[in-house]
Symmetry: C2
Subunit: 378 residues, 2 copies
């Protein structure tokens, strides 16, 4: 005998740009991800830096909204993005005790924290709802809006994880005001990625206003700055969701948003803790821009513009770990991760992308050498 | 600004009753869960008892099929159904190295092993395909055919897990020949559950042939026995899938297949390692049969028949851990797990079920006392 079980799982989640999410009178956060009548209890996982800056506002907020909270403060970095950290949260969550469906876990912090809490939420009772409040730029435009969760494992980036969208992501730009400039650059790298593969107008915005966006931390320091910041954030989120929505579970392994993510996982993990995620992505994009140029996909002038915008955004285009052996290993691992083919996104001019499966080692090594000399390393 | 992301994930998986799955000439297992042209490499997780009995057959099988295998032999029990065990497999899997989509992990073993490997497969690279070959009766009719994966955590049964169906489950009854009778009874408990909630004819089969099925271990010892064994297995799998398919991700929390699983998680974990899963389920069903009888849902004669079939199948109807405190705590935990309501499946006669939300502690305690005295404990 023989059965084919067939089912279809509908997934809906909300992403909203909000203002002043911790304003005590605004019930948005307190109600997010829960049906009316759900218990007013929440388990909140907060980044330690955020807790230091906004901890008392968070407490005041939930007190005003009459929500009883349990809090887990987490000192987060790529190095503690581990199963052990996830288990620590899970144990604390178990002690607090939550209902399976009606008491969403809240994640308030950067991309790494959102990724870990997403994994926790997907594992606890075989999935509980959760709500994300990203507080970094990379969280706002990348980790906070997709469905991927994960932790590093055995030296590999995000090797363990799930697909589990937050019920709701609330994007509040005001958290960026207290971020250091390096972390603004970190997020700008993912915005630049979207610009390069699909949005030439977004690239133009970054080229004209990148340095100012970084210096003003996407806040309303100047009238023009406010308008540009709004536009850049909205276009980045919109572009990202447009790419993700038809391919949430990555059935299609040719993903334009994988641009900058072919060599960067290995670069980032090897350089740990020296490079932030976006910095490794920037180096990957610089490298593939060189490959694109040598293939005639990007002309010299555009390639120069791309590298120049990276520098303007405070992003690196090179790191000493980028030697041949590492890049070869990175490519082999990427092939394994993309189901046996390179499926390598390459830039086409500025704002376009294609996929190739025939990158040779010689090409890779040549691009790497060229980038090294461009970066002034010789 | 505001976005609603909407997507639908189609899931298809296969469950097949097969014969002699390790016959070297039969390519079914070697090809299961993989597209033609996929690499001929598999990582196989095998229960240590199965490895001892069938290890050389497994090796011969894959050698004949020209599939290179990596093997992880696991000494499995409810007590090592833990995150640590899952991580141990994941580390070994990482060393073997598998392609993300084309080299399904194989699980050959009982329900506990299938649950752990399912979790491993769902976490590795955010989900890899896997294939189940259950070797116990509970694996054949329960853990091996659904989509739930999991491990115990912090003293709670299956507290961490995911929904991740195997690409394919191959059900081969011949493995049962080497199982001890207690583990046959363990699986018969889940078959009895299906009989009680939805299949009176299956109950009749168990009532007439239960002892023989158990003694013959569902093998073709006698002509009649073979026919009954086939029928019982097919009806159990069919009934189970009929319940699961429309509610794979448990959006509906009133699940008839939760019958026997309201109090048993706490009973099983408290009595560990004394009770097997199916034994705890049997005690739960005996208890809820008493509740059903006191509510007039099951008449005295049917209640007696149910308890008598349990005894005939070698299943317990009582265990000393069933004291008031534990049952109260079990009910509270079940309410939390079922989204804030009891949603307690109760039997209606034999072959029917209903859900109640108003079980009182007094009722629970009375049913427990009655069962204790019926069990001859006084």
């Amino acid at each position: 005998m023989h059965w084919m079980v067939q089912a279809s799982r509908a997934v809906t989640y909300e992403v909203a740009i909000v203002e002043d999410v911790l304003c005590p009178e605004d019930p948005t956060l307190a109600r997010a991800g829960a049906e009316p009548g759900s218990p007013a209890r929440r388990y909140v996982v907060v980044d330690s830096a955020v807790a230091e800056l906004h901890g008392s506002r968070i407490e005041r907020y939930f007190a005003h909204q009459q929500v009883r909270i349990g809090v887990c403060v987490l000192d987060v970095s790529e190095e503690v993005k581990s199963v052990e950290t996830a288990l620590r949260i899970l144990r604390a969550l178990e002690r607090f005790g939550i209902d399976r469906r009606r008491e969403p876990i809240l994640a308030i912090g950067g991309g790494v924290l959102c990724d870990i809490v997403g994994l926790v939420a997907s594992l606890y009772r075989r999935s509980t709802p959760y709500v994300r409040v990203p507080t970094t730029l990379i969280g706002l435009v990348d980790a906070g809006v997709g469905v991927k969760t994960g932790v590093n494992f055995d030296g590999h980036k995000n090797r363990l994880g799930t697909y589990h969208p937050a019920a709701c992501s609330l994007l509040d730009r005001s958290f960026l005001a207290t971020l250091d400039r390096r972390h603004i650059s970190n997020g700008l790298a993912e915005i630049l990625k979207l610009a390069l593969i699909k949005d030439r107008y977004l690239f133009d915005l970054l080229e004209c206003h990148g340095a100012r966006l970084r210096d003003e931390k996407l806040q309303a320091a100047t009238t023009g700055g406010e308008d540009v910041a709004r536009q850049v954030l909205a276009r980045a989120v919109d572009g990202m969701l447009e790419e993700l929505e038809p391919n949430l579970w990555e059935h299609q392994l040719e993903r334009r948003v994988d641009y900058g993510h072919s060599f960067s996982p290995a670069i980032e993990m090897r350089a740990l803790p020296e490079l932030l995620h976006g910095e490794a992505v920037s180096i990957d994009m610089a490298l593939t821009t060189m490959i694109g140029r040598s293939r005639g996909l990007v002309d010299g002038r555009d390639a120069d513009r791309v590298l120049s915008v990276m520098r303007q955004l405070g992003l690196p285009v090179w790191h000493p770990v980028c030697e041949e052996g590492l890049l070869r290993a990175a490519l082999a691992e990427t092939v394994r991760h993309r189901g046996g083919a390179q499926r390598l996104p390459l830039p086409v001019g500025i704002g376009g992308a294609c996929f190739v499966n025939d990158l040779s080692e010689r090409e890779l090594v040549a691009a790497c050498a060229e980038l090294r000399s461009l970066a002034g390393i010789g």
